[in-house]
């Protein structure tokens, strides 16, 4: 019986074909739709408003996959360094009393240029550049 069988094959092939086309085209169409975060940028991280950090204080922010210590040394002076201590990898912090960068693990101390002033760390902290854009704080690689 050619006719019913033909319809059957037609539906199998046609349905499968259309279905597979949809399963190919659906990801492509969604791929081309720009995602919410429009750009891949980890050359630069915007931390927030200038007012968020008081003078003579610091905080840890994420720069891509690395932690960075952002320090507002004075009203208009900002510094940023890699927050990973060069001794054994602990996360450093800003000591506002002594105005140094301090590692709590083994008392490593760095000055505000990232240079080691005391303790076990063998190398200085990598520095990052801080710019102010309007009232946004922007940290980028040097």
């Amino acid at each position: 019986m050619p006719e019913p069988r033909r319809n059957f094959i037609f539906w199998i092939f046609g349905g499968g074909f259309i279905g597979s086309l949809i399963s190919f085209l659906y990801p492509v169409v969604r791929f081309l739709n720009p995602p919410a975060v429009a750009e891949a940028s980890v050359n630069e991280v915007t931390d927030g408003k200038v007012q968020d950090l008081a003078p003579n204080s610091g905080k840890i922010i994420k720069f891509g996959t690395q932690p960075v210590l952002l320090i507002r040394v004075a009203q208009a002076e900002w510094r940023a360094f890699s927050a990973v201590c060069t001794h054994l990898g602990c996360i450093v912090q800003y000591d506002s009393a002594r105005r140094i960068i301090w590692c709590a693990c083994h008392n490593g101390q760095y000055d505000l240029n990232g240079k080691v002033i005391s303790g076990p760390p063998p190398a200085p902290l990598t520095e990052y550049t801080v710019h102010l854009r309007d009232d946004q704080v922007v940290i980028s690689r040097t």
Binding site: S20, F24, P27, V28, R30, F31, L32, N33, P35, A36, V37, E39, A40, S41, V42, N43, G64
Partner: protein
């Protein structure tokens, strides 16, 4: 006006196009194209698979182009962006990477099947030569594309690969600078490789593909000598099947199967991204190139520092060059001028070559 029957409407449309495209000759040609039927028919599919995978590469490559950025500062991050933030970016990228490997594998299978089926003989010598060029272009695609994610493994693999280029006698250093865009692998290399990968190589490949496919259409699919001999002995024509729709339907099935395979590979064995390249870090231990370069890589490892007064690497490169020329010249030493093939010689040589490539690739992978 009486309503036009559906069938008549179809004919009217076809006639409209025929008047403007003159494509009846094409339809005639396709209707009469045949494919030989014998025990080795299945191997005829691999040329089509390679072509199909190339088309997949072009499509996924263009999609990736929408988000990829070819500078050292952004390349890795843009690929990570594609993998994590773009909808189905992981799928497109993994398909592109897997399809690249499958395409090269399929090209090798196709090439060796042509050798074993002796399809290179007169009048198809130029088809073979253009095929060898296409294989070289595919390997160049693989090598240039490998660097683009700018991760540790691709950076160092490119470094090792481009260092090899400098061992070509006399022009080695200049050649190295041309390939790398400088004296070391860096941003200039990335820009250059990107240009090769998305513009130069596709253009060249299209040209050679048109040539390759055009000649195949002209001369048809080759029938192996022993099939022809047997047919002559039976006083009959060698068995054939129509290309359209029979063989084409089989090809469509194979292509669909390949698509399914790509989907499984992309979803279950996604392609890794690794860490961003750091030029100042030391090369990770056990760095090695992708599988299709493993055989020459391992061979070079085995060659001693100096051979007959020339440097080991140079000797190795010369060896590979001679091997490539020898293999490309297969139609000339593998067949006699009258069109008869030196079957045993070619089969033996092809088995030896295949054995060398497989063994050394495996050894390069294990060691």
């Amino acid at each position: 006006m009486h309503p036009i029957e559906p069938r008549d409407r179809g004919k009217a449309v076809a006639a409209w196009f025929q008047d403007r495209l003159a494509w009846d000759s094409v339809r005639e040609f396709i209707a009469h194209k045949t494919v030989p039927v014998h025990s080795g028919t299945i191997w005829y599919a691999f040329g089509g698979i390679t072509l199909f995978l190339f088309v997949i590469q072009v499509i996924t490559g263009i999609l990736l182009l929408v988000y990829y950025r070819p500078t050292p500062a952004e390349a890795y991050e843009s690929v990570q962006f594609i993998m994590t933030r773009v909808a189905f970016g992981w799928l497109i990228r993994s398909i592109h990477s897997w399809s690249a490997n499958l395409m090269i594998l399929s090209a090798f299978v196709h090439m060796f099947s042509v050798a074993f089926l002796h399809a290179y003989r007169k009048p198809r010598e130029l088809v073979w030569l253009s095929g060898v060029v296409l294989l070289a272009l595919a390997l160049a695609f693989g090598f240039s594309g490998y660097l683009l994610p700018w991760n540790t493994i691709s950076f160092f693999a490119t470094k090792v690969g481009t260092d090899m280029v400098t061992f070509v006698p006399w022009i080695g250093t200049t050649l190295g600078r041309y390939v790398r865009g400088g004296d070391a692998v860096g941003g200039a290399t990335l820009t250059r490789f990107f240009g090769f990968h998305v513009a130069v190589l596709p253009a060249l490949t299209s040209l050679f593909l048109l040539f390759h496919l055009g000649l195949i259409q002209k001369f048809g699919i080759s029938t192996p000598p022993w099939v022809k001999k047997r047919a002559r002995a039976d006083a009959a024509k060698p068995a054939e099947m129509p290309f359209f729709p029979d063989f084409f339907l089989h090809e469509l099935m194979v292509w669909y199967g390949t698509l399914g395979l790509l989907g499984v590979l992309a979803a279950v064995f996604p392609w890794e991204l690794g860490d961003k390249a750091n030029a100042f870090a030391s090369a990770p231990a056990g760095i090695r190139p992708e599988w299709y370069f493993l055989a020459p890589f391992y061979t070079l490892k085995l060659i001693p520092g100096h051979v007959l007064g020339i440097e080991g690497e140079t000797a190795g490169l010369l060896g590979f060059g001679l091997l490539a020329v020898w293999w490309a010249a297969l139609p000339f030493w593998g067949a006699r001028p009258d069109g008869t093939v030196r079957s045993k010689l070619v089969t033996g040589a092809a088995v030896a070559f295949l054995a060398y490539l497989s063994t050394f690739s495996l050894l390069g992978y294990l060691r």
